[in-house]
Symmetry: none
Subunit: 260 residues, 2 copies
């Protein structure tokens, strides 16, 4: 997966990811890697059960050293989030609480809307098996819930982190979602395209492609449509000219049945 | 993370995830789990380097047995995608190709806009280290690129899969942004498309289209790319067969100089 250019703002560290009593070093490492993939660098651990420093975490981070080097360890969630202004709790179970529930996308929009850098925001993630306690969830103003297949709703900790990080990163993207990639080439002009149409249709006439004159207009339209849809480059139009040229060049003169 | 209710349509199997020459069993397992989290069940493996069946994959799947039980193994990408109509390639490197690039979100919107169940769509993912070959990317109409931190843009295979699956699941409520117009016709299957490629290339070989054997692969790739991009209907593929047939039919037998 390739990176596209991104504003510096999204790489300033972003919201804090707070892993509470994480059980597996691997999950911490994969979460760190996922964070850095999407420009997040502020990782905080509350009493990691996996122990810290943790070799499995280092290995699983696959080079996200920048994140692991800055990790801060805390004894209590309250300390870990003390400097933040907006706190979200990622939780799996329904809680008997009255609290706004947002999607990861909604959370990202909210976090972008504060100071733009997200540095005053944080997201709490609980231990793999049990999740956050009610007391910990109560520290957050909002709950993040990710819609899941109800028949298989156990999301890995690091995967939950990557979805939050991904939404944070992509929600800033105002670029169009689809564009034609053209390396060292340019889209064909309509003139070039129409010349190709002419070439193709003349060749097909010569080859007796159209069964009847009545059917010709409809068939021509279909051919033009399909090639128009391809949004051809200049080079590709040249190639197609060559294809027509070559395929039809070898054709014998109109009738040489007199050799029989 | 809790599941919310979702329409049955989103749990019908969804788009196919095609892992090409995956190297690590763990990644296959985590990908399967991620798929099922978001209602995808159609996993296809092309020559898994990890070997199959694979104990590490089973362990890493954490109960996503439904997906692993249905895995299908193929020898070539062409076979793995033969029944699909819309194919995406997830790729990390910039390719010297002219092909629309979409985000995971854009891809999900597109896949939802076909038959709603996504069962005629698929996404190719390459091996962990090397990614897809250019020839494999050329089989797809669109490239999926996930915006990443340019300073740390190596995304784990299973994480790439989960982002595609997550977007597929969560985009369900969005209005479709793109719909291929198909009046009384249907998109060609990949099998039909590949047959056309074969026909075209054989005809071009016969006509001496390729100046040298060295230039052939690149020229073939360009031709395949432009036709893949056109998202041909079945009817259009038939028409193009007719075009090739007609243009090359009239060519005289290789050598009939013996009549002299």
């Amino acid at each position: 997966m390739a990176g596209t250019d991104r504003t510096q703002a999204s790489l300033s560290g972003g919201p804090a990811i707070v892993l509470v009593r994480a059980q597996l070093g691997e999950n911490i490492g994969v979460a760190a890697r996922a964070m850095l993939n999407f420009g997040l660098t502020d990782l905080r651990l509350v009493r990691p059960k996996a122990g810290w420093p943790n070799v499995k975490a280092l290995n699983a981070a696959s080079g996200a050293d920048e994140v692991l080097a800055r990790v801060r360890i805390f004894d209590r969630v309250e300390e870990a989030v003390a400097d933040l202004r907006y706190l979200f709790a990622a939780t799996a179970r329904d809680r008997d609480m009255v609290k706004p529930v947002v999607s990861a996308h909604g959370a990202a929009q909210f976090m972008r809307a504060t100071d733009g850098a997200g540095s005053d925001c944080g997201v709490l993630f609980g231990p793999e098996r049990t999740g956050l306690t009610n007391e910990e969830v109560a520290l957050a103003e909002r709950v993040i819930m990710i819609p899941l297949n109800p028949a298989f709703a156990s999301l890995n900790l690091a995967q939950a982190v990557i979805l939050v990080a991904y939404e944070w990163f992509t929600v800033a993207d105002d670029a169009p979602h689809e564009r034609l990639r053209q390396k060292g080439t340019r889209a064909a002009t309509k003139d070039e395209l129409f010349n190709f149409f002419g070439h193709l249709e003349t060749a097909l006439d010569g080859a007796g492609f159209f069964p009847t004159e009545t059917m010709r207009p409809h068939m021509v339209l279909n051919l033009r449509n399909l090639f128009a849809r391809a949004e051809l480059t200049e080079q590709e139009v040249q190639t197609l000219h060559g294809v027509i040229e070559r395929l039809s060049r070898a054709r014998p003169p109109e009738a040489d049945s007199d050799t029989g």
